[in-house]
């Protein structure tokens, strides 16, 4: 019931719904990912048991997060990494900027990291005059376009080839042709230069293994390996919930994540980095900083309704099955994280902003839960976020009144039957043969959302309860 003025979500949604290219690109991509996920999970077998195992590992880890964080931090430090803790985005940015400044670095290369988007690290570094380059192809395209990723795994699914050609031409001041080979070749050439020049590499962290203090990166383009080996300094941005206790737990995740994300049996490049390079090692950074970032996460620990969202391994499977994401894409969510996980995570990480709009952007169909490799009940969380919106007064007063009336009428049978009877009477009076329906539905305000797109069924001549009475007492029924 849209009692309020047109909202930001409405505006973004209508832009997305008018963008035919975006919609067909999103549909094409998510269908492909769903298809390959189905094949790869079937090939593995016992997928539901894998999900149970994954869920149990994540639940155990998050329930004992303090312990495992300490263990990870101690082991990473023992291996020569420098471990920092950042309570929020600002502190994380400051630590990164400080490390880059201490190295007197001018050029930074990055591999794909949603957390780096969350804390806005590129802008912070650019402000200090540092050249930051995304080296994941999709992320680089998005960076050149000054946009945000439209999908957690595939950031540039909303971009057309011609747009990418224009971005590359502007970046390199040279004329290119629109073939994939040419464009990819250009990116390869340019990024190769960037890798060689960079003094600092920044990555995210898919998993952090507590028992050895290792950082694990899953990538497909090999850029992650370049970012972590060519520059002498490596900064890891790690969400505090990224921990897995052991290497055997990692094995479960290494089966769940690529299959759920892209339908791959294994990620193309699986990098496990345990501290800076040793004396006899040729490759790797000599200087490793791991920044463990909270930014709203620890607040969810102990929260019965929402703690489980920390189990997320950022695979994006919930986006690929979401009927809402399918039709509006990622940008309409207006946040770094989109899709069902974005609708849940965004307001939880930023509790000052009302969850309202994003929490409403779901049919509560439960496809996200079904797709989730670690079984996060996102559909239930959306229901709880809507409750929080009501409790915090983010909903329209008229809606509150409407639901109070609803509760009174729908908990009192005789009143419900009476209201139904009056509605039928009004329907006969105003609609008669139905010619005035259009006028009536316009006038009905809140129901316009329905009637703008769909026929509204008329109330039946008699309710079931009335029919039931006739059925039980036919003689009496015929008289009425």
């Amino acid at each position: 019931m849209s009692f309020g003025p047109t909202s930001a979500l409405d505006t973004r949604t209508s832009v997305a719904l008018r963008d035919d290219f975006l919609r067909s690109a999103v549909r094409f991509t998510v269908d492909k990912l769903r298809g390959s996920k189905a094949i790869s999970t079937e090939a593995l077998g016992s997928w539901e048991e894998w999900r149970d195992r994954g869920s149990a590992i994540r639940a155990h880890t998050i329930a004992n997060l303090d312990h495992y964080l300490e263990q990870f931090s101690a082991n990473a430090t023992a291996r020569g990494a420098r471990v920092h803790f950042a309570s929020d985005a600002e502190e994380a940015r400051r630590i990164v900027v400080d490390v880059v400044r201490q190295r007197a670095a001018r050029r930074v290369v990055k591999s794909k990291s949603m957390l780096s988007e969350e804390i806005g690290i590129n802008e912070a570094l650019e402000e200090t005059g540092v050249d930051v380059v995304e080296t994941d192809l999709g992320e680089w395209i998005v960076q050149l376009a000054h946009e945000t990723p439209s999908h957690i795994i595939l950031p540039a699914i909303h971009k057309q080839r011609s747009g990418i050609q224009a971005l590359f031409e502007a970046e390199g001041h040279e004329k290119l042709s629109p073939e994939t080979k040419v464009l990819a070749g250009y990116a390869r050439r340019r990024l190769r230069q960037k890798f060689q020049q960079a003094e600092v590499g920044i990555t995210g962290c898919n998993f952090a293994i507590a028992e050895t203090g290792s950082v694990v990166l899953f990538t497909n383009e090999g850029n992650g390996r370049m970012v972590t080996t060519l520059p002498d300094t490596h900064i890891v941005l790690m969400g505090m919930e990224r921990i897995v206790p052991t290497w055997s737990d990692l094995e479960v995740m290494a089966n769940l994540l690529p299959r759920s994300a892209t339908g791959q049996k294994l990620t193309t490049y699986l990098n496990i980095l345990s501290g800076p390079k040793g004396e006899l090692e040729v490759d790797g950074a000599g200087d490793v900083h791991i920044i463990i970032i909270d930014n709203g996460r620890s607040r969810l620990l102990g929260d019965r309704d929402f703690q489980d969202v920390l189990h997320c391994i950022r695979c994006g499977a919930c986006l690929n099955v979401c009927p809402v994401y399918r039709h509006i894409g990622g940008h309409a969510y207006g946040s770094v994280y989109s899709g069902p996980i974005g609708a849940v995570l965004t307001p939880l990480l930023r509790p000052t902003a009302p969850a309202g709009e994003l929490a409403n952007a779901s049919t509560l169909c439960g496809a996200c839960y079904e797709a989730c490799p670690v079984k996060i009940p996102l559909h239930d969380m959306l229901v709880q976020l809507r409750r929080k919106n009501v409790e915090q007064g983010h909903t329209a007063p008229a809606e509150k009144v409407a639901f109070q009336v609803y509760a009174a009428v729908f908990s009192t049978s005789w009143l419900f039957q009476l209201v139904g009877w009056i509605a039928r009477w009004l329907q006969r009076l105003f609609l008669g043969n139905g010619t005035r329906r259009r006028w009536l539905t316009r006038w009905m305000g809140p129901l316009r959302g329905w009637t703008d797109y769909r026929a509204l069924p008329p109330a039946a001549p008699r309710s079931l309860h009335a029919l039931w009475k006739r059925r039980k007492a036919p003689a009496e029924g015929e008289r009425s």
Binding site: L17, H327, T363, L364, A367, E391, W450, A455, P458, H465
Partner: protein
């Protein structure tokens, strides 16, 4: 077997013929059906909009109404899902009410689920000489795990040609108040569902939920499509009335 029928608010006011069909089907299969008069609604509209106090008011009345019922059957996977999945969550802070909610939840069944899992129906005496496609509603499938039951029933009917629906598991875009609050997204979703239904060339699209059917048929009407939406209860009722011995 004694069955207490929960018509659901939509079934009572907008689709009483569907509800009556469900009752007739249950009776034909040997059930003794009653319709407790105090029932109204499961409270889902309020829960899904965030008004949990209001949802609890409505839910409590429903629990009281069916306190003595052995089996409660509803022509809706969504309302049954609300009761089975969300009633225990709604009352988790009160041990006494939680017990009642859990007891109620364990006694509630969606119609096709009840017919197949409780009555053990795998064969039916009925005929429905039409091309039919089936849309599995999300809450029935995902909250209650109802996947095979409706198909078992449809396959049991003579002369019924069941054609698979492409992307059948995708939501129809209804989502209760979502269809009104974010109407344009809901319309985009239902458009895709309707397009898939058209592709099948079926005469009927059958479902187990009135809300989803209201959404799908409402959109098909506006688009002037010839496909008829039909609830599982109605389809079974029509098929079985034809199948009755002459």
């Amino acid at each position: 077997m004694k069955v207490s029928f929960f018509s659901t608010c939509l079934g009572d006011q907008l689709y009483p013929e569907v509800a009556m069909s469900a009752v007739r089907v249950l009776e034909r299969l040997g059930c003794e059906v009653d319709l407790p008069a105090a029932q109204v609604c499961c409270g889902q509209p309020a829960l899904n909009s965030g008004y949990q106090d209001e949802a609890r008011t409505v839910a409590r009345r429903l629990i009281e109404t069916f306190a003595d019922a052995e089996h409660v059957v509803a022509p809706s996977g969504s309302c049954s899902g609300m009761i089975r999945h969300y009633f225990p969550q709604l009352f988790k802070h009160d041990a006494g009410l939680l017990r009642e909610a859990e007891s109620f939840a364990s006694r509630v069944f969606e119609l096709s689920q009840f017919l197949v899992r409780v009555l053990g129906i795998h064969q039916l005496d009925g005929s429905f000489p039409h091309k039919v496609t089936y849309h599995p509603s999300c809450h029935g499938a995902r909250l209650l795990g109802i996947r095979e039951e409706p198909l078992i029933l449809l396959r049991a009917i003579r002369d019924l040609e069941l054609v698979p629906l492409p992307k059948a598991d995708d939501c129809c875009g209804f989502g209760g108040t979502f269809a009104i609050k974010l109407a344009s997204i809901s319309a985009a979703i239902v458009d895709e569902k309707v397009a898939h239904i058209s592709e099948t060339n079926a005469h009927y699209v059958v479902g187990t939920d009135l809300g989803c059917l209201m959404n799908i048929t409402g959109r098909m009407q506006v688009k002037g499509l010839p496909v008829q939406g039909v609830h599982m209860a109605e389809l079974l009722d029509r098929a079985m009335s034809k199948g009755a011995p002459a």
